[in-house]
């Protein structure tokens, strides 16, 4: 053996005179003397070791087929990304040859486009009476002709190039009113919840310039509108101006038509910018949306590998040996997760750089990656087989992709879009600024939910649960029961579950955004109530069913009170939605409760206090109902939960009807 000190060795320890190892007392003293920083450093060191091992182990298992699939995905993502970001990746560079002299005005058109290569007319050779030649398009003076098989396509492409060239010239014109002499106003109208069109709102732009702005009919005159910059998601109308003010041409040094100063998602704004008909885009940021989706695609693949490695430890019992090592289950899980998280962050950064995003894109996507990994980890811990894991990961992919993508479609249309961090990416790609409140609303629930899901999965990362074959719901209850140590843990868990509730309710709002109002309200009222009641009672049920508590009526009342009160306090945190104006949305009130609108409807301090504190009584009462049911087994719990949900939903409906 070498003389190197070996901290792992158990030899050389001196026993105390009383026959017991003296080491324990010594270690305890040493342990108390160690700084937390040193312990953290050791813990990080173990995490890195597990991570390094996971990388080396995993890279050893990647077969050629997997490499091929990953490569194909990377190429596909790259092509889509670059194509969307750069209007092409150069596949069509110089595919057509144009015969034109340098003196000809069309020569500049041909050289401005990547599609064309020019040759002087004297070098043009045409054979077979025009059927073939060394060029596709020939331009002599102002006459344009085409030659050969590619001639027609080349001619069309050149015509497009001419239009683009002219557009670019106009866009670069200092005097935009000269470049775009006709103003067209486009007015978008929201549909009310009754299905009627709301009356148009007078635009500030009209008021401000007071000029003879043409109405939309003018667009039929051959001029075209340009899309707004979409700053205002809640705007009822967006004014698009091709010309500016006909009567009062703007100074060339200033934009003829300013975009509205209000960039807040919830504010009213009119945006008028100049442009051409070809620039008209749909009223949502299509291109940015597609680019933002690129961030989500690799996550769906990475979680497959991540889920497999977690499942491997369970199915083959390989994790048992890690559990008897000095590394804690937290360190093992962190170490196994780190490479996949780092990989996802690397991919996100690469995509961001490729499509021209900024730091916000990365900061907004990391919580999504964490949520994907957390859900997959918990799923892999609960699944009984790889077959079941496949179902779980597909479910995770569908639900989370829906959660992040659907709301992002409504970027700049409604504040609901901000429930998804992907909306921030879309905004970032559009060069829009994002408020801190919007960032918090979008990401904090996702971060917290990911943390809670990781904790739940971690609860079952122990020998007794890892290798046991139990149904998924049973494992979920086991995972929760692990965190139930006594009465104090009940309110703590009620608070911990709030992010879940928040995310679930936001998801419901987003998914039912376009549904008929009556159906939307009905579903959201009951769904939101059910989610909250589950969050308040599932750990109480876990505690009773796993013999953590005596199943008595007194215990149920105490635990229900603790749970309901804690949930009430934590739920106040969901009022963060007011930061972005989400509380002005009817279905948000249905989801988050009448207290969301307390400030607006209360006509006195008593009513205000009543609206805020009445939910405390509600939460306590319904939590007690569920807890009492939980003392008598699963069926009773489910029945009691249904009753509590009904009480909760009816309370919300009643209060809203009362105050509105």
């Amino acid at each position: 053996m070498s003389g190197e000190p070996d901290p792992s060795s158990s030899h050389g320890e001196v026993d105390s005179s009383d026959g017991r190892p003296s080491r324990r007392a010594g270690d305890e003293t040493e342990s108390t003397q160690r700084s937390r920083a040193a312990e953290l450093r050791d813990s990080c060191s173990r995490i890195v070791r597990v991570a390094r091992w996971e990388i080396s182990r995993t890279t050893g298992t990647v077969d050629r087929k997997t490499v091929f699939v990953l490569l194909a995905v990377a190429i596909a993502v790259g092509i889509v990304g670059f194509a969307a970001a750069d209007d092409g990746i150069g596949l069509e560079d110089e595919i057509y040859v144009v015969g034109v002299d340098e003196e000809n005005p069309y020569h500049d058109v041909a050289t401005a486009s990547d599609q064309f290569r020019t040759v002087p007319l004297e070098a043009v050779r045409i054979d077979d009476g025009g059927a073939s030649g060394n060029v596709d398009v020939v331009i002599e003076d102002r006459r344009i002709g085409y030659v050969g098989e590619n001639g027609v396509a080349a001619y069309d492409a050149f015509r497009d190039a001419v239009e683009a060239y002219n557009e670019a010239l106009m866009a670069g014109e200092d005097d935009e009113t000269a470049a775009y002499p006709v103003l067209v106003e486009i007015e978008y109208q929201d549909r009310s919840f009754d299905g009627d069109l709301e009356p148009p709102v007078e635009s500030e732009a009209d008021e401000s310039d007071g000029s003879g702005v043409e109405d939309s009919e003018d667009s039929a005159e051959g001029e075209a509108p340009e899309e707004t910059d979409g700053e205002d998601s809640a705007s009822d109308e967006d004014t698009v101006d091709l010309e500016g003010d006909e009567d009062e041409p703007t100074d060339g040094d200033e934009p003829p038509l300013e975009s509205d100063e209000d960039t807040d998602a919830g504010g009213d704004a009119n945006v008028t910018v100049t442009g051409s008909p070809g620039d008209l885009e749909p009223p949502f940021p299509f291109q940015s949306l597609i680019l933002a989706f690129l961030f989500v695609v690799p996550m769906n693949f990475v979680i497959q590998a991540y889920g497999s490695t977690i499942m491997d430890e369970r199915i083959k019992r390989r994790g048992e040996l890690l559990l008897v090592s000095p590394a804690s289950s937290r360190e093992i899980v962190a170490g196994k997760t780190l490479p996949y998280l780092a990989g996802l962050v690397g991919i996100v950064v690469a995509i961001t750089l490729a499509i021209g995003g900024g730091f916000l894109s990365v900061a907004a996507t990391v919580p999504i990656a964490l949520l994907f990994l957390a859900a997959t980890f918990a799923g892999a811990m609960f699944a009984r087989s790889f077959k079941e894991l496949t179902f779980v990961t597909v479910t995770i992919s569908v639900v989370l992709t829906t959660y992040v993508f659907i709301p992002a479609i409504f970027t700049d249309v409604t504040p609901i879009a901000l429930i998804s961090p992907l909306t921030l990416v879309v905004m970032d790609l559009q060069g829009e600024s994002v408020t801190l409140g919007a960032y918090l609303v979008s990401t904090i629930p996702v971060y917290l939910t990911a943390a809670v899901v990781f904790l739940l999965g971690l609860g079952t990362y122990r020998e007794e649960d890892m290798f046991a074959q139990k149904p998924v719901p049973t494992k979920v209850i086991d995972a929760i029961a692990v965190r139930v140590h006594g009465k104090r843990s009940v309110p703590v868990l009620s608070i911990v579950f709030v992010p879940f509730v928040f995310v679930a309710q936001l998801l419901a709002i987003a998914l039912l955004f376009a549904a008929p109002p009556l159906l939307t309200f009905t579903i959201i009222f009951f769904f939101a109530a059910a989610v909250e009641e589950v969050a308040k009672s599932v750990h109480v049920y876990a505690g009773f069913s796993r013999a953590r508590f005596e199943p008595t009526l007194a215990a149920a009342i105490v635990l229900g009170t603790l749970s309901g009160a804690a949930f009430f306090l934590a739920e106040k945190g969901t009022q963060i939605v007011q930061l972005v104006g989400l509380h002005e949305f009817e279905s948000a009130i249905a989801a988050f409760g009448p207290e969301t609108m307390a400030g607006e409807v209360a006509d006195g301090p008593v009513v205000f206090a009543g609206l805020l504190l009445a939910p405390l009584i509600l939460h306590v009462v319904t939590a007690i109902i569920s807890a009492v049911g939980a003392t008598r087994g699963r069926t009773s719990y489910v029945v009691a939960l249904g009753l509590a949900t009904a009480v909760h939903a009816l309370y919300n409906i009643g209060v809203i009807l009362l105050v509105t």
Binding site: R24, R49, R317, E464
Partner: protein
């Protein structure tokens, strides 16, 4: 001095009691056997000692630490019954990873890995574990359990499923570890192995310890050595008078009487009685019950001298004395002819 103490440990799973109030202590340097039929609670007990399973009640102390403590894990080497390895890694990579996890310095780890694999006679160390035989994999698993140079080793079925040659090697290796001062908690279905390496054992059944002590103590407690006195004498009536024993008269075709007693004084008394009747003692044999006999008695409800063919514990129904793919083991019960008159 006990290095491992268990006091009233109980483990329940969803209303099922896997281990019920086990208590025992293990001395430093001792090889301690835990035996019992399937489902007796052996593995659960060992996992509680390893810190893998939290006891529902009771306490355990291993090398001064509570199982599960990080410091305790450093003093422990655990070899589970099923020891699935990372088959995509080589043996050396695998052992280096665990050495890293146990904070073993690189140089020490390299030397320790080399030494362990040499002693275990493992060849093809750079081969991927997935391409190794079962015996080779088991040796890698044992080397992993030793990577942190532990004070206490818990071996759960270390020779399970191995060929006789590898089995003997593993058993001998366990003995060597004991001689080096390591404490080994040893569980095996093959009681011959337990009997050959263990200083003391506990026999578990239905989650409870039903017998404990050194092998001699257990034998004494459960029948001990029997003396079979064969005599040619007219009539067996009265031979048992004055001592505790039994008489069997149909031992052989010559009509000789077999008299079974528990001590040599009784043998002498019978000899005198036989000679007084003009008979002759033709043979005296000792029958020492094996651990298996006792095990079957306490766990299976059979008598020590009953049928020797029995289930070997893994459901094969094979007799312990039967060859197992070239197994050179013999029946573990001792039968010695002390007098051949």
């Amino acid at each position: 001095m006990a290095i491992l103490e268990v006091e009233g440990v109980r483990k329940e799973y969803d209303g099922f009691t896997a281990v019920e109030g086990s208590s025992f202590a293990i001395e430093r340097g001792e090889v301690f056997g835990v035996v019992g039929p399937n489902g007796a609670g052996k593995t659960t007990t060992l996992k509680m000692l390893a810190g893998l399973v939290e006891p529902t009640a009771g306490t355990a102390v291993v090398a001064g630490y509570t199982p599960g403590e990080r410091a305790m894990q450093r003093t422990l080497g655990f070899l589970p019954e099923e020891s699935p390895l990372y088959e995509e890694m080589t043996a050396v990579d695998y052992l280096e990873f665990f050495a890293d996890l146990y904070d073993v310095p690189d140089a020490v780890a390299a030397e320790r890995i080399e030494s362990s694999l040499d002693r275990l006679e493992l060849e093809h160390r750079e081969r991927r574990i997935g391409n190794m035989s079962k015996g080779m994999k088991r040796k890698v698993a044992i080397a992993r359990a030793l990577i942190n140079d532990p004070e206490v080793l818990i071996f759960d079925e270390p020779a399970s499923g191995l060929d006789p040659l590898t089995t003997n090697h593993v058993i001998e290796f366990t003995e060597e570890l004991s001689e080096e001062g390591k404490t080994v908690v040893f569980s095996a279905h093959n009681l011959f192995h337990v009997e050959s390496v263990c200083d003391r054992v506990v026999i578990m059944n239905d989650g409870r310890i039903v017998a404990r002590g050194s092998l001699d103590e257990i034998r004494d407690e459960h029948g001990g050595t029997e003396y079979h006195v064969y005599a040619t004498v007219d009539g067996s009536d009265g031979l048992e008078d004055g001592h505790d024993g039994r008489v069997e008269t149909d031992v052989d075709e010559t009509g000789s009487v077999r008299h079974v007693v528990a001590d040599m004084d009784a043998v002498d008394a019978i000899r005198e009685t036989v000679e007084a009747r003009d008979g002759r003692v033709t043979d005296i044999q000792t029958e020492t019950p094996s651990l298996e006999d006792i095990f079957l008695e306490v766990a299976g409800g059979t008598e020590p001298d009953a049928e020797r063919r029995r289930d070997d514990g893994d459901g094969t129904g094979r007799s312990e004395s039967e060859p197992d793919g070239g197994d050179d083991e013999t029946d573990s019960s001792e039968s010695e002819r002390v007098v051949d008159a």
